[in-house]
Amino acid sequence: MSIRKKLYFWTDERLKIATLVDYMSHKAVPMHGHSIWYYFGGISLFLFIVQVITGIFLLLYYRPGAESAYESVKFIISEVSFGWLIRAIHSWSANLMVFAAFIHMFSVFFTHAYRSPREMTWISGIFLLALALAFGFSGYLLPWNELSFFATRVGTGMAGAIPVVGKFALTLMRGGEDVTGATIGRFFGLHVAVLPGIFAILLSFHLFFIQRQGISEPLEWERNPNTIKKYIPFFPNFILKDILVWLIMLNILAILAVFLPDGISAVHWPLGQKADPFAPPPPVIRPEWYFIFAFQALKILPSHIWFIEGELFGIMVLSGAGVIWLLIPFLAGSFKGGRKPALVIAFGWLVILFIIVMTFLGYVLE
């Protein structure tokens, strides 16, 4: 008996993996013209794993606090062996994860994979994306440099526009009236403990739903019952393809981290100068690229719309659109006979157009 088989039997004796392998090998993944979109969920997961690993490494040297945060990040990238590489991979994977998660979300939206019985997979996915954005927002402040300080001041300041709870939310986030060392403590705790904990639970649910319900088949198969349906086994065929994509991503990450350790253009994170609350703010303060569309939309609104404050109106409209987006599986109606919901598709394109235009304006109108 080969060593591989011996190892398998040894493990199976203890964990009963034979049933799991049997379950996975009987699971089939539909193959069709849009199968490529299936890989983006896996890419997001891979990049999240990379972030967890690099985040743990960064945690070994990072010291939160107004007097130590900047210095420790500087130490990591200039003195710690491969510290620069770890920080660069952490930052690149964070940005690429958000990008992959957006593609994953829109691909699920336009292939209508959210439809019954996968409503909970969609909702958990939307919350996961929201958590990913919260990871980005909280992590941005941690180097305590000039840009992150002022961007966080503007970002948290927007929360103050929310009626009734705005002032409370702002003080809660900042740990006081202004962004200070207390804010770093809060954001740090959020970034390395609170968010990962919630993320892990939600991610488990998300993956559990996918495993139990299988991967959604295209709507066209329902519309044309005569179509020849092709499947491949989840294990090992699809898993191997997933691993191949992950390896390609790893190569891309390595190249980006080595050639562009501080990022490039709108996606950049140079350490720069230490945050100085008394210094004049830099001429251009921008949040991370994935917040630009919301930031720009709130910025171009007039001071008042009817009797409502412009910023508050913007927050209400964006929040309303977010709730509709979240509840799409329940609002899209019936998909009987492979019917395509034209209104939902139009709404999806409107959202994409809005994000692209606002992001473009956010970078151009400066």
Binding site: S78, N237, N251, A254
Partner: protein, 417 residues
Amino acid sequence: MFGALAKLIRLTFIPAFLLVVSPLPALADKCFDCHSGWEEGDKTPSKLFSHDVHLKNGLGCSDCHGGDPTLDDMDEVRKSRGFKGVPNPAKIPDFCAACHSNPAYMVKHNPALPTDQLEKYKTSIHGKRLYEKGDIKVANCVSCHSVHNIESPEIPTSTVYAQNIPQTCARCHADSAYMKEYGIPTDQYEKFAKSVHGMALLVKKDNGAPACNDCHGNHGATPPGVTSLSAVCGTCHNLIADNFAKSPHKAAFDAMEYPECEACHSNHYIEEPKLYWVGTTDSSLCIKCHAPDDGTRGLATADEISKSLAKLFRSYGQSVAEIADADEKGMMVTDEKFALNEVKQAIIQTRTEVHTFDAARVGVIAESGIATAEKVYKVGQSKIDDYYFRRKGLGIATLLITILAIAIYLKIKSIDK
């Protein structure tokens, strides 16, 4: 009753109303009304006077030119009390000094302004020629401060604003035809503009850099003589002047009646110091006076100092280039750039210490700079090595991942079959 009320209005409210709405200066000073009426162009006294510091301090035409400003008729004005009219050029300093040399008067308008301008002016070359020889071509108050649009030296449009002073002096001093009879050069402005002082003042717009008046004085403008030159330069370069005064050169220069700073640095065209100035080569300044057999250690000292400086400059140049290279490659060199400032500081210090003409003192500072520069150079080198190591590492990692990816791809293909 109504008659009494009407009288009250007529006597109290109407005059009060007129007092508020009527243009008081026009009523009080007729000079403006008439002169602005018939003068044409932008450079006329009435136009220029709107920017004048005297107007801003509440003074009018009659405060300088005398006469009764409430009169309409010019003939009557000429006959009125204290009328001075246009002053004779030879009398302009006294004309201005009537107020400016009167502390009791000046304290009411500008207490910070000195009142000794006329006294100083009389000691200047300009003043001496005017008062002793009656030469009205020399500069008087209005030559520099202008007429009717006199502005405070702090105002950038003022003719005596620091950055405008060289041009103001050059109006006469760079005019070879105008200056012909005085037999002095007229290339001072041209030389000054190219000098380190001129570049700092006129190009970098650094008002801290010296203009003509900082060396020559302003109201007491005098060319500094051989004995006073080091005192003039030492006003700003005090450490250098101090070093020079304690050096063996001081006695030698005094004996030979050499101007101290000017002997090596020239006067108006003062260049950025060059490394080759100190040494024993043909282009060095030391050999102008020293010779191998002159019985002094002059050339030996010059040679030692020259070698120390050359080594310091070489080390600095190499470390700057190395750090720039590392920086360009995207490596973090913030601390090293900061350390290079220490080397630059050492270079500045050696420039001061050179004036002790003590090779040992220069050597100590140079060595400390060289040690820092070499340390920075090594760090720069290690950063560049690290840069190439990263790329080699990336190459190997990418290759391994690619091989693994190809293997998986082949496995997928075989399973699909």
